[in-house]
Symmetry: C2
């Protein structure tokens, strides 16, 4: 992954003509390539400490190479990309270390605590909330702890339907290892192709099949972590119990601040024999949302369930060729597009399809057949590439997400839209979809596109404009009584909005746990904890 773009370079490319034409109707297009690569700053970690790390892990697993360090700098938020495009490498790690297993991680943490070296766990590098941008001040240096060597299927218990996975496994790698046994995990976030098992756990990821397979944290039955105080193993005895507070839930979402997750045990499932995705049309976002709520509260959820609002339906980012096409939701027909997906055995899929279709029809939905569903499935991981192409032509484009209870959905939706439109001005496009539902609430996922403003070289103007808009959106989310993040996590970008959500004592508890497990404060300093 080149640092200034998303994913596989083979998939990168200029804006497709159809999209380019569409975007140019709304925003001025200004070719804005990344600045020429600036030199990577020399490592600040003292040479004797680098030698100490070499002694622990072996020479070949302590990397000072400029390209490797550049690629471990920050994550993939639009601000991260804009900073990279502008040649800002202030957050580059001094050294990249590559532990081979739990004991290596423990050794690095022990050494780092002794020498006050900041340690940034690195999985897929796909954080979009500044989860990889640590504070340098007060540390002898910053080490990127790359978990890329820890990529094994460590254990499989087919009777209990559990698998123990290395934290460095990327989504497709984990699925491929499980598929050899006829099994799957079923976790497909948009970052699936690059994000890792450890990252999914550390950030409470949620995937596109969450209606059927649940959030990633709900798939986890056990985990092992290395902390500066030593090893933690949790959940190895049972899926659920009454043995006091559930300490797994402290490490899930801990974003590397309490320890480094070195093994994750998850529930696995048989590979589905059938996968069917279809489209449904709704007269409005509210009508579609009410239908989702009815399915969730009636315990009648399909595997995939997502609903675009009128704007997102009209734009249909994933398939600009089809906009307004006959029979499809979109500007031609208006209303909102819902994707409904079914996976499982033929019998289970058939039964669920009948029941869900009956419920959706009763609720006012119109079936659109398989085509919109197949199109969604084909393009489901591609949006980040489109973002890069839009950044190339000077546009601001970014996503953000939140979650609340059903009764608060409309208020939250209006508040975030309004905040973004006010901050970014006329012509701003705010699209939204619901892609994660619960009996009691749902997520809202926003995509924002706006004119970049005065384009500085590499886009500094855009960065400031976006940061102001993001602050406005965060404030609106908090004022609406919603959560600051549904599945993107806290990182550094949401940190200042965590306190209103968990209160002063919630923050105090996080700090107390941090002090206990990481007394020297070396783990991901500045991330998560206010």
């Amino acid at each position: 992954m080149p640092p200034t773009r998303w994913g596989d370079p083979a998939h990168a490319g200029p804006l497709p003509d159809g999209v380019r034409d569409l975007v140019s109707l709304v925003f001025p297009l200004v070719e804005t390539p990344a600045a020429a690569e600036v030199a990577v700053p020399a490592p600040a970690l003292p040479a004797d400490l680098v030698d100490g790390l070499r002694e622990l892990l072996g020479e070949e697993h302590v990397v000072l190479d400029d390209a490797v360090r550049r690629n471990r700098t920050r994550g993939k938020s639009t601000p991260d990309l804009l900073r990279q495009r502008a040649g800002d490498l202030a957050d580059v790690p001094d050294v990249v270390v590559r532990p081979g297993g739990h004991d290596d991680v423990q050794a690095v943490l022990d050494y780092a605590a002794e020498h006050r070296i900041a340690v940034v766990p690195f999985g897929g590098g796909t954080s979009v909330t500044g989860g990889l941008a640590v504070e340098r001040d007060g540390y002898t240096g910053v080490v990127s702890l790359d978990l890329g060597r820890m990529r094994s299927l460590l254990a499989l218990d087919p009777v209990s339907s559990t698998a123990t996975l290395g934290p460095g496994l990327r989504g497709p790698e984990a699925e491929a290892l499980l598929a050899e046994h006829g099994l799957m995990l079923g976790h497909f976030p948009q970052s699936f192709e690059f994000a890792t098992i450890g990252g999914f756990a550390a950030t409470r990821s949620s995937g596109q099949s969450s209606a059927g397979y649940g959030r990633f944290d709900a798939m986890v039955v056990g985990l092992r972590a290395a902390t500066p105080r030593g090893e933690v193993r949790l959940g190895g005895t049972a899926p659920s119990n009454a043995s006091g507070p559930d300490l797994r839930e402290l490490f899930l979402g801990s974003e590397g601040a309490f320890g480094v997750i070195t093994e994750v045990t998850v529930r696995v499932r048989p590979l589905p024999e059938v996968k069917e995705y279809e489209g449904w049309h709704w007269p409005s976002f509210a009508a579609g949302a009410d239908a989702m709520r009815a399915l969730a509260q009636g315990d009648l959820l399909p595997t995939v369930l997502r609903l675009s609002d009128e704007n997102e339906t009209a734009i249909n980012l994933a398939r600009p060729d089809a906009i307004g096409g006959e029979g499809s939701a979109g500007p031609g027909g208006g209303g909102c597009l819902m994707i409904v997906g079914y996976e499982g055995t033929p019998a289970a899929v058939a039964a669920k399809k009948v029941a869900v279709a009956a419920a959706l029809t009763d609720l006012g939905g119109t079936p659109l057949g398989a085509e919109p569903g197949e199109a969604w499935a084909a393009g489901r991981f591609n949006a980040p590439y489109l973002r890069d192409s839009l950044l190339d032509v000077g546009v601001i484009v970014e996503t953000l997400e939140t979650v609340t209870f059903w009764s608060n959905r409309e208020r939250l939706y209006a508040a975030v839209r309004s905040a973004l439109e006010s901050a970014l001005g006329e012509g701003t496009m705010v699209l939204c979809h619901i892609s994660h539902v619960y009996a009691t609430g749902c997520s809202l996922y926003f995509t924002v596109a706006a004119a970049g403003g005065t384009p500085g070289a590499g886009g500094e103007g855009r960065l400031d404009r976006w940061l102001a808009a993001k602050t406005a959106a965060n404030d609106a989310i908090v004022a609406s009584g919603a959560s600051i993040t549904h599945h993107h996590a806290v990182g550094t970008d949401h940190r200042d909005w965590l306190q209103p959500e968990i209160g002063d004592l919630g923050v105090a508890v996080l700090r107390a746990v941090k002090r206990e497990l990481d007394p020297a404060g070396i783990l991901n300093p500045g991330v998560l904890i206010p």
Copy 2:
């Protein structure tokens, strides 16, 4: 609830003749009534501190009455009952205080912290793990914080399907308040009639409909607590999120050691229109357990699913009249009885019934019709009364439970049975059922009956015999790699077995959180934390 017995005195009575005859075949029956009531020790809390509490709550809500204090002494484990029967009132609280709401609770905690008074939150008093037996040493006195006045439906959000409940609401009271709105919670543990909402949350209770409605902790979306450091509100923004560690999961299962839960927000559901319970026969416990596993892993769970092992099926404690009856599982037919219950709309129940019945038939089960199911439903909350009657005739009788992954079920089952039989000697009856299942594991719930040994007045011999057996069972559970408790919680009785489950660092984290929230250590001292 009289302190030496379970529940409603109107339901108490001598052993039914059928059971008496059966038990007398196995154990010597020795009439062993409780000792004559001994005087309740005078309150040890200094009078000026009692006056201080009166100023906070009003005279009428600070109770020193002997009968009230006697009734707030310990819980309902067999050791608790045996100690009460023997006239041991060492754990009697000095004062019972009755706060009217969150602010009252906060005021009591502030006062208690200032004056080093131990505070024992008291809901239904149904703990069976010593959750109400606090350490007195080092405290100026012990206050029982009776939540019985906090019994309101505080808020209802029908759109989001959530209700906010007072912690002192007993199971039937909560259900009655929700039923006025056509809703229910659906949490039916054996202690349902007396246990409270706050207690369910603080101990991670699990009910008889957990297959359909989930564990109590999974029903909770939010909670409010008073701690000596102030108020905590968690989960008010959304059902699930990625806003760092899930701190709700620290308070769920905290057993009053971190704070007093003053409000619980739960998912509610429409009252089921249909409830159907039926019996199925399995040739063996293993065959029935495999069928449960298949349903759980196939996401095909009914509302109620429980399976008695061969011994429990033969004894069929709930219906001694029917033992060996024609067509029923039991000594006549051998094998194991499974209860399968369906609740919901007529359409949903009908559809689920067809699918489950097909699966169970495929797996080797034989339907027994509605009669065994109805009999189970009718007697589902009665076992504790039978225990009292058995204690009256000098028998040891108690239950214990654990949970593990499916692949470890047989090993755990054998180990616990063997430990109990070895400790209690020939003739010991060990019965078991599975009543809580997950995709990856299941609980095992044991009922033990054994000769009481040399009966001292009130049964001291029995107490020692049981405590030795319980220790052996706990050791066996830990050695088997299972959890020390599935839904009875830790209390004082399981505390020494928590460390092997969560490790030294897990214990250190609990202590760090305790220090942060309860620096004076006044909350339920001695409970939960090793």
